[in-house]
């Protein structure tokens, strides 16, 4: 038996099982990230809430979810919640645990974004007679978005990889499928190699998407700048 069989590696790579597992990983990452972003935004807003109870809850949340391993949170959701009568599928548990955990980290990113928008911008909006909700929606958030896109991209890529831990609660993600196949055939090298390729492809796609978005957000400056410079260039010639 050869150490590495390219044919077997290819077999795994194109198998429906691996493709489905990759989709599970992708879908899990997307939903957990979306949940995390929503929670993160709420926490960031809650930090500046007028009511002290809300601010204290946010502090507690961050303390709890950043202070314990995400693996513990995952196993807790899967094994302890049923004893309270809450029965969730492995996938739902995974989204919940990863999303709640991610929310704690997103909160910091969102907060940095909100704080990155100068106080004067809010003041100007208030002077126009806008209420706090509209100021947030039309003045602060659009500007905060530019600040938070790069760190959110990083969170996403790390989320894609962190999802591998959901194999411990039996979700059929990439790593789980790879290990299952390997335990039957003992072809660890080929299966893990194939799973690794899927991870790399997914992260590469995401890095590309992130780059596109960042470029798009900064492009308008260049376009207008070139348009403005064009007459000057013509005059110079």
């Amino acid at each position: 038996m050869r150490l590495f069989s390219p044919a077997l590696f290819l077999h795994y790579l194109v198998s429906a099982q691996f493709a489905a597992a990759a989709l599970t990983t992708l879908w899990l990452s997307l939903t957990a990230l979306l949940l995390g972003m929503t929670i993160g935004m709420l926490l960031a807003l809650g930090r500046e809430a007028r009511f002290r109870a809300i601010r204290q809850f946010v502090t507690f949340y961050l303390w709890l979810f950043r202070g314990t391993p995400v693996l513990l949170q995952l196993v807790f959701a899967f094994n302890v919640l049923p004893s309270f009568g809450i029965l969730l599928s492995g996938f739902t548990c995974a989204v919940l645990a990863l999303g709640l955990n991610e929310g704690a980290y997103m909160a910091e990113i969102m907060r940095a974004g909100l704080l990155g928008v100068g106080r004067g911008q809010r003041l100007a909006a208030r002077a126009l007679g806008m209420d706090e909700f509209r100021i947030m929606l039309w003045v602060v958030m659009p500007q905060a978005l530019r600040i938070i896109i790069p760190p959110i991209g990083n969170q996403f890529i790390s989320m894609l990889k962190v999802t591998a831990i959901v194999s411990v609660i039996g979700v059929q993600d990439l790593l789980m499928v790879a290990e299952q196949d390997a335990s039957g055939s003992f072809r660890y090298l080929e299966t893990l190699f194939a799973a690794g390729v899927y991870y790399l492809v997914l992260t590469t796609i995401f890095m590309q998407v992130q780059m596109r978005i960042e470029r798009r957000l900064s492009r308008r400056r260049r376009v207008v700048a070139t348009a403005a410079a064009a007459p000057a260039l013509q005059a110079a010639q």
Partner: protein, 245 residues
């Protein structure tokens, strides 16, 4: 003519610091009140109290005959819709073009149809002599241009009173004139305004009344012609001669 705004005995305290100590301000419809005074005298704070960006510690503010000094949140916001404000640092919304800056409040606060808001915004940009800068972002405009867009943005809400908080203090000397010109045209067209500035030339040419604020109290107040021609308190005289120098 009727008084648009009449504030009486405005007191503002920040911690242990009494920034305003019983100031009276009033401005009649169509008039321009210029507020002079050394930095730290409370001029900016006073302006922010008048449009409720800062709550007063005590005192009364009648705006269009209605007491507004105690209003908060939504009620304060609707008062601010009728009082335009221009800041020293322009504070144009950085993510929006000049046109979008002017259109934002009419669209999102007054819910005007987009076409109408756009037409009105283009008219206003023409009025501040920037008809060709509609699609420029703030960071592509000079300070003077940004400040003129900021004036157009404030006018878009069709205010009955305009507050100017040192509108030319952050500008390069060569762009000060274009902003003052727009402000003078505005005053000439009958817009009621209160202007905090160090530009004595503007005060002479555009103001109906001038008041001098010092250490949180009104040190002197007079019709513009009188303010610059007749005897003024020593403190004011020293300040004026320093400004002219």
């Amino acid at each position: 003519m009727s008084e648009i705004l009449n504030a009486v005995a405005i007191w503002k305290r920040f911690g242990d610091d009494d920034v305003l100590r019983g100031v009276d301000v009033s401005v009649r419809e169509g008039e321009c009140l210029v507020m002079l005074g050394p930095s730290g005298s409370g001029k900016s704070t006073l302006l922010r109290c008048l449009n409720l960006l800062e709550p007063v510690s005590s005192g009364s503010i009648l705006f269009e005959g209605q007491e507004i000094s105690g209003l908060v949140r939504g009620h304060a916001a609707s008062v601010r819709q009728r009082i335009g404000m221009v800041f020293q640092n322009f504070e144009l919304f950085a993510h929006l073009t000049a046109l979008q800056n002017v259109m934002l409040a009419p669209l999102r606060v007054r819910h005007q149809p987009r076409e109408r808001a756009r037409e009105q915004a283009l008219d206003l940009l023409a009025r501040v002599h920037l008809p060709d800068k509609a699609d420029f972002y703030p960071d592509e405009l000079s300070g003077g241009q940004q400040q003129r867009v900021a004036i157009a943005r404030a006018l878009a809400m069709e205010p009955v009173l305009m507050l100017f908080d040192e509108p030319t203090s952050a500008l390069d000397p060569e762009t000060v004139g274009e902003v003052l010109l727009v402000m003078r045209e505005l005053a000439d067209s009958g817009m009621t305004s209160i202007v905090v500035t160090h530009e004595l030339g503007f005060a002479r040419r555009a103001a109906n009344e001038v008041m001098f604020l010092d250490h949180g109290i009104v040190a002197h107040r007079a019709p513009a012609a009188e303010f610059f021609s007749s005897a003024v308190p020593d403190r004011v005289d020293r300040f004026l001669s320093r400004m002219e120098a």
